[in-house]
Amino acid sequence: MEIIFQTWPWYVSGFIIGLIMLCLIYFGKTFGMSSNLRSLCSIAGLGRKVSFFDFDWKSQRWNLVVVAGAMIGGFVAVNFMSDPSNVAINSQTIEQLAAMGIDAPNGKLMPETLFGTQIFDSPKIILILLVGGLLIGFGSRYAGGCTSGHAISGLSNLQIPSLKAVIGFFVGGLIMAHFLLPLLLS
């Protein structure tokens, strides 16, 4: 039973994620999380102003149900299946982060520096989270998918457009992690 609390190995996790994608195909659907952002915009009534959101979001309700399930899964995993040994990242990574003023994980999934409630005293961190989200939302819709839609679903179906998008994801990620993030947090 120990394995339930430890960090799940990559080969087990990757395999289950692959099965989840196949399962949704078997249900006649596709695996893609960012589409839900478009549905939420549509539910908020933005379809009246912008035609992109004027679509039948009800046909996408199943995906919102998947999201609801995922949220419950996150709640259960964090509250009943975690252990102080979790998030054992590379010690060199921890040192690098310390130099940028970011606290070590010590079993936590998210750094306090960026996600603790004290950020409400820091307009800079709030702005970082907001802009990060904005890039994710804008980029995933522009590219027509995110990690689930392109990296997993698209590459599994050997799609060249998805390969271009995934290369884009990594180029953007490397620029941010190596050049911009140190500047932003200094």
């Binding site: 990559w10 992109f52 989270l129 989200g133 994710i136 804008f138």
Partner: protein, 138 residues
């Protein structure tokens, strides 16, 4: 009702796996982009490998979906600019806040309330794409 249940269960497993594999962790994404661990690369590669094999089996055997219809997986639209540029924007955001759309929801469910700011930003970004869609190269 049964329909809702199967999607809840799939989502529930997805939420647990992404949390327990720590793919939702900001730290793991940072570590991945620093090439300091194989963990995330392993997860993504095995997921794709499983998917490739599964989809080949589905195609070779003309597997029907759960309602008996033939399974048709649509090809992604052709194009270049939207994939390179959209991908680039997405990657910048992914490495900044350490989460992609799935984990944003999972983390909020897990009680990381400040991630609501990221979700709000993501909705705003999606809205802006809708507004400027016709002016962008695709």
């Amino acid at each position: 009702m049964k329909n809702i249940l199967k999607y809840i269960i799939v989502g529930f497993i997805f939420g647990i796996v992404l949390t327990k594999s720590e793919a939702v962790s900001w730290y793991r994404i940072y570590e991945m982009f620093q090439f300091q661990s194989f963990h995330m690369y392993g997860i993504i590669s095995v997921a794709i490998l499983t998917g490739i094999i599964g989809i080949q089996i589905i195609k070779k055997n003309n597997v029907k979906d759960s309602s008996g219809e033939p399974i048709i997986i649509e090809d992604k639209e052709k194009g270049s600019a939207r994939y390179w540029l959209g991908g680039l924007f997405f990657g910048l955001g992914w490495a900044l806040v350490g989460s992609c759309p799935g984990p944003i929801f999972i983390l909020i469910g897990a009680g990381f309330w400040t991630v609501f700011i990221v979700l709000f930003g993501a909705l705003l970004g999606t809205y802006l794409y809708g507004v400027f869609k016709n002016k962008l190269p695709h």
